[in-house]
Symmetry: C2
């Protein structure tokens, strides 16, 4: 099984590399979001899409789920182009699913493309999607030790986003312990603390997104 | 890959069947818990172990995690025998890991054995662990639509446990929508609503556990 898996991963990595080149050529900044189910990927993304659309930024999203198009429908309310990827029983998105979803898209009409992975803090770690940057989210309600317990996804991410900070007091969230858990796994990982409902920390998230794009355009 | 996976699953199913026979012969009731990371498996299980130990019930637990023995240490505080299974990068427990963990255990000295799976609402679905009954947990903070979005794990479970009900008001949890989502996937699934911190609903959970054992001993 391990051998078959490595073959799949190798094929995935090659396709992801090709995707990354296509995204860079088209000048689109691709941000993927990974987290547990219910950590708030869709809520943060919905707010982000609304904010970008209002600011005239050209943005679209791909959303992976085993079943239902709940998230795609929620995200479409922003007015952004959103494509659902239904994975069936597959626990993660892979580069082939992304390639197939964007095949007919004119990528050069986009500034940002967001990819919301299946809710899973384990399996998405090993699949490169060709994204420019990967964000891993975990919520204050999940507990402070998630980074220590799920290292691989944190190792592959470029930023850790702590979500639902408006609930921190209600759940007795220990912020210092969470920050320590992140830095024990990824010593130089930037951390963004955000509540997509109250908007607290949202400007910092947007600044990070802008910096990703700036960095990409300069290169 | 699919072929290799099916071979692994078939091998797993055969071993799980053998485990189930051994558990039944030994008269131990085996309950597995699956959920997203941070849904509260360990907190519920810690309370359950404490309660059982105080009542003189003979109980032990196996705990799966990619990394760290946080959960095993938390559970050992109850006084119960607890064995950590470190999966590395593997996103689920399988029958072989269970078999290897309990190899030297005198199973007939136990009334209950709990198995806490890796936090993952997807991959554990397809791996039979030889358990008597499987509980799938999801918390009020994750959102009401989890059953609709992750059908396989709900299909393989014997009970749905809604956790963190003490936070329902704070997160605007829509109970009716959650119950509807469960019954749309599993029309006859029993549902237990519990807060392992406040203890609300905990007696119902214990009644369900006792019923599982009664049913097993009668058969």
């Amino acid at each position: 099984l391990l051998e078959a898996r490595q073959k799949v991963l190798k094929k995935n990595d090659l396709l992801a590399r090709e995707l990354r080149r296509r995204f860079e050529d088209a000048g689109v900044t691709v941000i993927s979001l990974a987290s547990s189910p219910g950590a708030g990927k869709t809520t943060l993304l919905a707010r982000t899409l609304r904010h970008f659309i209002e600011a005239g930024t050209r943005v679209a999203a791909l959303v992976g789920d085993l079943a239902t198009d709940h998230d795609a429908r929620r995200l479409r309310e922003s007015g952004a182009k959103v494509q659902q990827i239904t994975t069936g029983t597959v626990c993660h998105l892979d580069a082939e699913m992304i390639e197939s979803a964007i095949r007919s898209w004119p990528l050069d009409t986009l500034d940002y493309l967001f990819i919301e992975n299946v809710g899973n803090l384990v399996c998405p770690a090993t699949f490169d999607l060709g994204e420019s940057r990967r964000a891993v989210l975990f919520s204050t309600t999940e507990g402070e030790d998630k980074p220590a317990k799920y290292p691989p996804i944190f190792h592959t991410a470029d930023v850790a986003v702590i979500t639902k900070i408006d609930l921190a007091a209600a759940v007795g969230f220990d912020r210092a312990a969470a920050l320590a858990a992140i830095s024990s796994i990824c010593p130089v990982m930037p951390v963004i603390e955000v509540s997509a409902s109250s908007g607290e920390g949202f400007p910092t998230w947007c600044r990070w997104l802008h910096a990703c794009r700036t960095l990409q355009l300069r290169l």
